[in-house]
């Protein structure tokens, strides 16, 4: 009985509602933080940054955002890719219009702009639910991609129709552009991811989170306890879109550097993020990270094992990956809607009782 909460008594409501109620979890968390901030920056190289760490951090932000909307507030969205595009193009316009402003502001304001756009597209959620809302957000997805393709102002009339991230800095270090180093890009994304995860955790443990979950579980009952569905749903769309906008801005400016909207932010991206939260766990902060890690790591692993190890053809490995994801989606939707996060919780519950299961 190493992993346990017996003898770990909570003597105040404050302790009772902390993020990691079990001491061992707290230790693991702080160890992870120390490694992420104090060790990884010194050992990271371009391969690790580009293949694993940057996409993981950025998609984790997007997954947190979608999880707030879908997992916590119960509003299904297939528009994630489109909203990421809003963040990316807003960041691009801001970066080119205000080159002297630190990149952090560009990214955060891009998030705020996405929040406003998300609220506008969230308005129909007051009238329509479930499947019909999903279709409405799908329309938003296609409309937004079309808009950024067709209106040259958004890509500054560039001949290719693509947007390219110019070099922008933070505390003198280049974060975007060709000269940006792997540690700088990694740290920039890490700080944003940790800060946003902390905010997501705070919002979901207090009264705003309960309003969202109340609307998700039973909107009629939510109304009779005094929740205004309008403000509850729109706040979920706003917060969610802020996260997704920031993720879009980072994906474009820090990770990819150059973007063609349909390719980077098409409907596949909406599904990718949706799969992350289904596999990771709906309504779970940890699940958002688990899902992002899974979807980022699996292709890398498959490539290393199947292609490099067993000599499979690349496209065969890619098909194999589709099959795995498809099967997992079905398994999780049918058997474990709370995803990897729930499996993790169950494993811990077993561990807590071990070696005396009764």
């Amino acid at each position: 009985m190493i992993y346990r909460e017996a003898g770990d008594f909570k003597t105040s409501y404050r302790e009772d509602s902390q993020t990691f109620p079990i001491k061992l979890d707290r230790r693991a968390y702080w160890t992870l933080m120390v490694v992420a901030f104090a060790v990884v920056p010194f050992v990271i190289n371009d391969y690790w940054a580009n293949a694993v760490l940057l996409p993981f951090l950025i998609y984790a932000i997007a997954a947190l955002g979608l999880n707030i909307l879908t997992g916590y507030a119960g509003q299904v969205s297939l528009g994630t890719g489109g909203f990421m595009a809003v963040g990316a193009y807003a960041a691009y316009k801001l970066m080119t219009a205000f080159p002297d402003v630190p990149i952090l502001f560009h990214v955060l304001i891009a998030g705020a702009i996405t929040a406003l756009v998300g609220m506008a597209f969230g308005l129909p959620s007051l009238r329509i639910k479930g499947f019909y809302l999903a279709v409405a957000t799908l329309a938003a997805q296609f409309f937004l991609v079309w808009l950024f393709n067709k209106v040259p102002w958004f890509f500054n009339y560039s001949a290719s129709g693509m947007i390219n991230a110019p070099e922008r800095t933070m505390f003198g270090a280049a974060i975007t552009g060709a000269e940006a180093s792997a540690p700088a890009r990694y740290l920039f994304c890490l700080i944003l991811t940790v800060a946003l995860a902390w905010i997501a955790r705070n919002l979901t443990r207090g009264s705003v989170g309960r309003k969202w979950m109340a609307i998700r579980d039973m909107d009629i009952a939510a109304e009779i306890i005094g929740v205004n569905p309008l403000t509850a749903k729109l706040s979920a769309f706003a917060v969610s879109s802020f996260f997704i906008g920031v993720a879009g801005a980072l994906l474009f400016a820090v990770y990819l550097g150059a973007v063609e909207v349909g390719e980077a932010f098409g409907i596949q991206k909406s599904f990718l993020i949706l799969f992350m939260i289904i596999i990771g766990g709906l309504g779970s902060i940890f699940g958002s990270f688990a899902g992002a890690a899974f979807m980022v790591l699996m292709p890398v692993l498959l490539k290393n094992v199947l292609v490099d190890g067993f000599g499979w053809a690349t496209d065969l490995a890619a098909h194999f990956q589709f099959m795995i994801v498809g099967a997992l989606i079905i398994v999780f939707l049918v058997f474990e809607p709370h995803g990897l996060a729930q499996l993790w919780r169950l494993a811990k519950e077993k561990l807590r009782l071990w070696p005396f299961p009764h």
């Binding site: 404050r14 705070n202 207090g206 569905p229």
Partner: protein
């Protein structure tokens, strides 16, 4: 003999009943061709336990839905605390201090008992989004303050042991109790209970009756409840409205209602078959 027309009076068991807090005037509610409520007037006085009884389909739940703002009657006026209610959404009614439970339980199944009861305090939690995002300071203080209130209610209803249990896993009787806890957490001026004892066994009914009486007694909460079990109603309530086919056929103390010929014919007679 107490004078029930006075501004306020003291009951035999020593509770003070105040003036009228809620008044329904000539309410008529129709669903297409069905008239669920026909020209009904009655009032609820501060501090009393007011029962609405009647056979199935009499329109009792519809009446509670009118009070809580779910249904808007075609005719009639709703007066609360001396003011006529303008057109109002249910969440606005809740914010005026009216809480309720449902005939078919309406809890948040995906949340724990504690979170469900905490939602009862949402109308009183004022910290904005930005302060909550930062948590430390205002949001945390507010959370703890309301948690303390909620824990008192959890103790009061004796559901401490299931605090962290997801509501979906609870048996029916406990769910009813959690729903009452959520309504109580709002510290309502008027508490509406739609068949709080339906589907319970004798023991659970006794527990629930005791809770209802205690709530009324200790917090002075005005209660309007719908109940099928005549015995329970007669024991619990100060005054009773009797409905049948959407009409009011009796209104008075349990004794008066019991001896009212129209009520005996329409309801008690049927019930005693």
């Amino acid at each position: 003999m107490t004078d029930m027309n006075a501004e306020s009076y003291v009951t035999e068991d020593g509770r003070t009943i105040g003036g009228v807090i809620m008044e329904m005037k000539n309410i008529t509610l129709r669903f297409g061709g069905v008239t669920a409520i026909q020209d009904i007037s009655f009032d609820i006085r501060e501090g009393e336990i007011r029962a609405i009884i009647g056979p199935n389909g009499a329109g009792k739940s519809s009446m509670l839905n009118v009070i809580s703002g779910f249904y808007v009657p075609q005719e009639g006026e709703v007066w609360f605390r001396g003011r006529r209610r303008a057109k109002m959404k249910p969440y606005q009614v809740a914010r005026q201090g009216i809480a309720r439970t449902f005939q078919n339980i309406a809890l948040f199944e995906g949340m724990s008992v504690l979170d469900n009861v905490m939602t009862g305090r949402l109308t009183r939690m004022k910290t904005g989004l930005a302060a909550q995002a930062l948590w430390f300071g205002r949001a945390e203080r507010e959370e703890i303050e309301h948690r303390e209130k909620v824990e008192k209610i959890i103790d009061f209803l004796e559901i401490q042991a299931i605090r962290k249990t997801p509501v979906g896993r609870l048996p029916y009787g406990l769910k009813k109790r959690v729903e009452l806890a959520r309504a109580l957490a709002a510290e309502p001026a008027l508490l509406l209970l739609d068949e709080p004892m339906a589907g319970m066994n004798v023991e659970e009914k006794e527990d629930m009756s005791r809770f209802i009486l205690d709530v009324n007694d200790e917090f002075g909460t005005t209660i309007c409840l719908i109940e099928h079990d005549m015995g329970v109603v007669m024991d619990l309530s100060d005054r009773v409205v009797v409905m049948d086919y959407g009409k009011k056929i009796g209104d008075g103390t349990p004794d008066e209602v019991r001896n009212n010929q129209a009520v005996i014919d329409a309801y008690l007679g049927v019930a005693h078959d």
